[in-house]
Amino acid sequence: MASHHQDKTKSSAGDEVIPPSTPSEMNTSPIDLGHIEVMQILNEHGEVDQGLEPSLSDERLLEVYRAMILARTFDQRMLTMQRQGRMGTFAPNTGQEACTVGQVVPLTKDDWYSPSYRSFGAQIMRGWPMEHLMRLWAGFHDGFPPPENVNDLPFSIVIGSHVLPAVGLGMGMNYKKKNDCVVVNFGDGASSQGAVSEALNFAAVYKAPVVFVCENNGWAISTPTAKQTANEVIAARGVAYGIPSIRVDGNDILAMVFAVDEAAKRARNGDGPTFIEAITYRMSLHTTADDPTVYRDEQEVLPWGKRCPITRFEIYLKNKNLLTNDSIQEITESCEQEVIAARDKFYSMPSANPGEIFDHLYEIMPEELSRQRDEYRKRLDDKGVDYE
């Protein structure tokens, strides 16, 4: 054999030294990728898989139910306010309440939540006052900071851009040796962003305590999931990065709570991230600026009515004797009142202070910026605008 390919490592140390870490021969057995479990506990007919029922107290079950009703009520009120011109563009969540609320039910105050713009149901449960969320959607700067004692990220307007920071929070928990976890929510559309793939990889490599909830609602504005990806099983992404992954019926509140709870426990236990693909459906508009009749056959929406997450949960709670038609009525009305009260509070809140837009960018305002603020204040003065 000619000498040109006798590399130094081989000839200098001899052929015999073979450390165990590197196999000398290619392993040619096929690699089994396993399978992805699909979890449903409470089916479309209200039947329950008792082996998997999450252990929630009756009180907690009713709290969760109320949170879903509250989400739907808030949603409808926001649409009304938007039509009345009293609200900015808004992204409704109709039909996704189980998915959205369910993903935060297992969280503690010390855990963190990183919502998307369609996750207000979860934000309310996490402690965001509804009038605060109204401020947010109405374009006030003070609507975005999470309230005191709420460990949330502000939601991400740039699709997918919050997922890496959420993983960073998890890495921070590892760094500080805390046994908490992070739940981060994003859509089927967001799953196409490269930054989201990087987030999955970082979480897996660093065993960050992160629960990824990909809320696959079938659409990203006018783009159906079938055009978003050639493999509609988005959970396979998790597997590719070495993350335990599961598909869940996102319209089944029990399955959502169960899956997130399991994942959160694993995360807190040092076992790293979990990827949950929640199958649900965007029943309504993408946002109030959108007209889905342009691009989707509304026939497609119909069967999802049968899979309504709230109806199903009601059957379950009735079967458990936790709910009656009367108490449903009561809860519904109390939610309505709560939302109306929030709305009234929102309407009575101070108008925006145009003066503050320079105030929060830096810890200490640089001189050039304070000169610009003076210019701006002069503009406001000239226009006769009030500010602080």
């Binding site: 700067h141 740039v158 504005i221 006018s222 783009t223 925006a352 837009i357 610009q372 701006y376 226009k383």
Partner: protein, 327 residues
């Protein structure tokens, strides 16, 4: 001739260029059956087919990167990024490949592609939907940056951009999208890229702007002519990069005074560059400091207070009077 909005005029340009050249194709999020979030590509997919007007997955870096490959392959992709704020997702492909592949291959591969994207404030949108970061692109060698201000020049500049062999960032002032109508000829019309437009001649002061800010500038200039007998020369840049320094220089050599207006941030913005160039080319003629009225160096504010962020004609009038009277 028909009276069109800017959205309609842009649509016309794309429709006609697609009809003219089968190598012109489109990629973007929701641009197909939905016609784009601003309806700029309305009906183009129906007319020219799904193969030519492609809905993409939600990945801006992917859109730009794929278009680069298509351009190398001899296609002329016109891509839409839904809001200019999301071009950040594609910054790497824009800076590393779109702007440089021609140079890297010494012209073996050219990149005839247009990146269209709505920019700027004024439509009460949420954060990241009002950015004006044309300075990023002007600072990036290898790109051209075009910003129209009216339906007619939007149509003519977009058509010309599609025919160009160099990569172009085409910023569309979304505040102007439906703000007014203008006569636009039915037959294809082109405008030369790289030339500023002297919208109104004048001797007292040069006012330079572009895009959506041309409207308050025009108002200001009219006010000043009527009420104050100040004769402003108003220049619409139209192409931000490469900049038409000659036209600006000639004007300021004549007037000796200059005000620049844009909504993009101030530090290292377009106005800084204009000032630096005029400092070189018209220093001896300058009778007053050049005044810049720009977006502040803070993120574009949320919509409850955004109206106060953008310069308005009154402030421009005052700045012009001040600069006019400076001694």
């Amino acid at each position: 001739m028909s009276k069109l909005t800017m959205v309609e005029a842009l649509n016309l340009a794309m429709d006609q260029e697609m009809a003219r050249d089968e190598n012109v194709c489109m990629l973007g999020e929701d641009i197909g059956i939905n016609g784009g979030v601003f309806r700029t590509t309305k009906d183009l997919q129906k007319k020219h087919g799904e193969d030519r007007v492609m809905d993409t997955p939600l990945a801006e870096c992917g859109i730009v990167g794929a278009a680069i490959g298509m351009a190398i392959y001899g296609i002329r992709p016109v891509i839409e990024i839904q809001f200019s704020g999301f071009t950040m997702q594609a910054f790497d492909q824009i800076e590393q490949n779109m702007a440089r592949l021609r140079n890297r291959t010494q012209g073996k591969y050219t990149l005839p592609m247009v990146l269209r994207t709505p920019y700027g404030g004024g439509i009460r949108a949420v954060e990241h939907h009002s950015e004006s970061r044309e300075a990023y692109w002007a600072h990036t060698p290898g790109l051209k940056v075009v910003i129209p201000s009216s339906p007619r020049n939007a149509r003519a500049l977009l058509a010309a951009s599609i025919r160009e062999d160099d990569p172009i960032v085409f910023y569309e002032p979304k505040a102007v999208y439906r703000a007014f109508r203008e006569e636009v000829p039915d037959e294809p019309e082109l405008m030369e890229i790289g030339k500023a437009d002297i919208v109104r001649a004048g001797n007292d002061l040069t006012l330079i702007s572009y895009g959506a800010m041309m409207r308050p500038c025009k108002e200001a200039v009219e006010d000043l002519a009527e009420d104050h007998n100040i004769n402003v020369e108003l220049i619409d840049l139209l192409t931000i990069s490469p900049m038409d320094t000659e036209t600006l220089t000639r004007s300021v050599q004549k007037t000796g005074r200059c005000v620049i207006v844009h909504e993009g941030h101030r530090t290292c913005g377009i106005a800084s560059e204009i000032i630096a160039r005029l400092n070189e080319s018209a220093f001896e003629y300058l009778e007053a400091p050049i005044k810049r009225i720009t977006g502040f160096d803070i993120p574009f504010p949320y919509f409850q207070v955004e109206e106060h962020f953008l310069p308005e004609s009154e402030e421009i009038v005052n700045a012009i009077k001040e600069t006019r009277n400076w001694q």
